[in-house]
Symmetry: C3
Subunit: 213 residues, 3 copies
Amino acid sequence: MVSTVVYEILQLSGILAFAISGALVGVRRRLDILGVVVVGSFTGVGGGIVRDMLLGVHPPVSFTHWPNLAVALVGSLAVFFVHPGITRIRHFEVVFDAFGLGLFSANGAATALAAGQTPLTAILVGTITAIGGGVIRDVLVNTVPGVLTRELYAVSALVGAGLAVAIMALGGSDGLASLVGGAAAIVLRLTSVARGWHLPKPRIGREPGSAES
Amino acid sequence: MVSTVVYEILQLSGILAFAISGALVGVRRRLDILGVVVVGSFTGVGGGIVRDMLLGVHPPVSFTHWPNLAVALVGSLAVFFVHPGITRIRHFEVVFDAFGLGLFSANGAATALAAGQTPLTAILVGTITAIGGGVIRDVLVNTVPGVLTRELYAVSALVGAGLAVAIMALGGSDGLASLVGGAAAIVLRLTSVARGWHLPKPRIGREPGSAES
Amino acid sequence: MVSTVVYEILQLSGILAFAISGALVGVRRRLDILGVVVVGSFTGVGGGIVRDMLLGVHPPVSFTHWPNLAVALVGSLAVFFVHPGITRIRHFEVVFDAFGLGLFSANGAATALAAGQTPLTAILVGTITAIGGGVIRDVLVNTVPGVLTRELYAVSALVGAGLAVAIMALGGSDGLASLVGGAAAIVLRLTSVARGWHLPKPRIGREPGSAES
């Protein structure tokens, strides 16, 4: 298949992006070198492991295909030694997380569809793969996962996965679907951060300061 | 099988109850509309996904059978727009959580037994299915899961699952087992809350205020 | 196979050690008897369940082989009634956790290799099995998992798993590999605690007190 190389590059890029985001969180939390590598690696390969467990791929690809783990380890180690100062580190976390989110959502959906899953299942698998690594990272460092609190986070993953499935339904290749869907998700997520787009919060009665709609 | 419709109704009712409980927690934590929908949906379908991964059903039913996710989404959205005020919201959380717990524990055990698992495995699968959604909800919003701290929580799930298995062992249908076991679990859980039944805590030496037995 | 009995003893010993460590944490957190039993049992059998889900063993062995759960329950209950005072309880937690870590890492790797997995996969499976129970325990009680913060924690698991795989590659039995690898992991982990061995932390700019290398 002509897109095997594209697939591999997108997979490893997504793993690298998430591993960097996880390692940056580890550095900010002042974990030691091993803690940084563990949280970075889990974040990098975690979404794919969840995907493989959902689809019944045993053992997960990251346990048998060494480049996945190698990329996650190298990315995490690199962050330990070279990283921005404390005042800018959160900015980098968000950017690399967005790249991981976009790459995994579209690519995960395209892969599931190409493997014969229905469009609904493919979109769900892509979305779960994309948010899985970040949820693991945030639960490990004991914070509420960004998917519950960040601007258009799950929406961006859904858009990326849905666009990828739509492109393939219209006859596009899975490589094209992964690239276009992924780019759309990344742009949507980063734009929502830059513009501070927030969705409405619930009205709750009898609490001071609950006036927002 | 005559009980397929009963099974489907019980499944969707359990998903709806857990989704509502999760969305209520999201509202109380003041998540935005998407955060409320994500935590509600994960809580609604999470237990079943864990069950399917344990039993080797790939992909999980909620990824292929759209009514599951639809019910979870609609329930979560409804809670976002219509919910009790802050002073009563915890009360509703507990009630819907109890219904999810009861519906999933007995129904999960009955389904596993009907699928050929042993009674022990069926009881464990039912219990894990019942507490899985709530554990996911509580871990996501960063609190200690209720199964560790709430009144007779795991006991209620075990009773519901065990009663369902016992009814089937005595020749009852899986629909009857799900209904009776589920009702017993719900009544036990809500009674323990209403009466404030607590189990003994450990004695710990050398700590002020550790006098309770 | 001659080492079946050895395997069973090592498995149950690992489950018992992790269940005791989990129950001790539950006692320290002042959970009631059921909470202590739930967190102890999940910690005891959790790593093995993760391993089985990764390898595609459905349902997990602990759901079908009753001694696993029985040992976890008995160990947790025993801790509820007999445990050290608050000033020494953390010490016992660390020791039992180290035994669980060592027993599971080497034994998990040896089992995976004997089942036909590659050395890389076997080492990863052993490591994940060993740290899985502790991660579940720490996430449940809402603290950052020890694998991210404790002295040589993941390194000890990796050494145990790697040594077990190396011994089998050199012709040793899986029983010998489990014993030697497990002992090495336990000794390494406990020595690192006793000596206070810590790995370097990241340098972070513009933060007071960030001088350590």
